[in-house]
Symmetry: C2
Subunit: 171 residues, 2 copies
DNA sequence: CTCAAGCTTCACAAATTTGTGAAACCGCCG
DNA sequence: CGGCGGTTTCACAAATTTGTGAAGCTTGAG
């Protein structure tokens, strides 16, 4: 055990204010949940985001969020699936550590691309089935065009983010 | 009842192939559902998208999707809430028509902006609570910066979409 | 080879969500 | 002002989702 789990007074600036951390985690997780993310996945993600190393073990996550190992496992396997978190074996131990990607948002949004592709495909086929000259077909085709447009813009957008990120003064 | 609901052969090109419409609607709705949208709302939205006028009455939606008036009502009130659909009173009748916005994607994505603002706020506060010079604080601040960046880009992006849209040959 | 830490899987119980029928409501028509 | 088409609200039943405890599996350490 690395530290007591008490919520005792923060002894000076060196210690994290766990109360504040928890409030942030729960608040942000709730917003993600509202946006459609699974609750446990959102909480685990937010907790990782608020951790100093950007990485925690299953046990640490379980304790911080007060959830069972099973819940951690489920959340992590979802986050892994969508490539927001990766699993690392901690050398010299048999624990896994769950790690945020360092280019997190770049990766995540670039990945979204594939969802857009899938949507675009469905829409193109739908438009074809409706007949390109029917009003409905035209509307569906416009929607397809929108997602294709977004896809095209995404790369440039993410590159601009990278550039912008480099100019930030973090920490 | 406007027409039989059988899946008989489409009688010539003049008639919509309702089977194809339905397949498209269900497929696209499923994808939206996977992305976090309520099922009924997704189905109603997809059905409207595939309708010739971009507008349908409650009864038409109910018949096409084989759901109750109550379900239509619920779905529509959600879609109205998020400004993807608006309600119109059909003159000379006491039916409502549910109508897609014509600048649908422009509106919808511009609206998303407000979600980003909210997230950004939570993240900024979280970063402050964590301490700007702690690694965790820096990570959260970077995330806040990302959403602020996205917000800033969104306007230009949507304007480019409008311009691009104008060049499309629809129908 | 054996032990044991720790992750995952399974089956289940609880909680939430979903969609329905039925009743209430609203506004127009006669 | 009574009737009626149409929509919304309500309470409930069904289905899905969620999170847990406990058992099982995997793998490193000794």
């Amino acid at each position: 055990m690395l530290k007591t789990d008490g919520d005792g007074p923060a002894d000076a600036a060196s210690r994290r204010d766990e109360g504040a951390v928890s409030r942030f985690v729960e608040r942000f997780a709730a917003q993600l949940t509202d946006a459609g993310m699974q609750r446990m996945a959102a909480r685990v993600f937010a907790q990782l985001l608020a951790s100093d190393g950007g990485a925690m073990t299953s046990a640490e996550l379980g304790e911080a969020l007060r959830i069972s190992p099973a819940a951690v496992s489920g959340a992590v396997s979802y986050l892994t699936q969508v490539h927001m978190v990766s699993r690392e074996r901690e050398p010299g131990s048999r624990r896994d550590r769950y790690v945020l990607h360092n280019e997190l948002w770049y990766e995540t949004f670039t990945r979204r691309d594939q969802v857009l592709t899938q949507w675009g495909k469905t829409l193109r086929e739908g438009a074809a089935g409706l007949g390109a000259h029917s009003p409905a077909g035209a509307r569906v085709a416009e929607t397809a065009a929108f997602f294709e447009f977004m896809q095209g813009e995404m790369l440039g957008l993410m590159d601009r983010w990278r550039a912008h990120r480099a100019t930030l003064d973090l920490g």
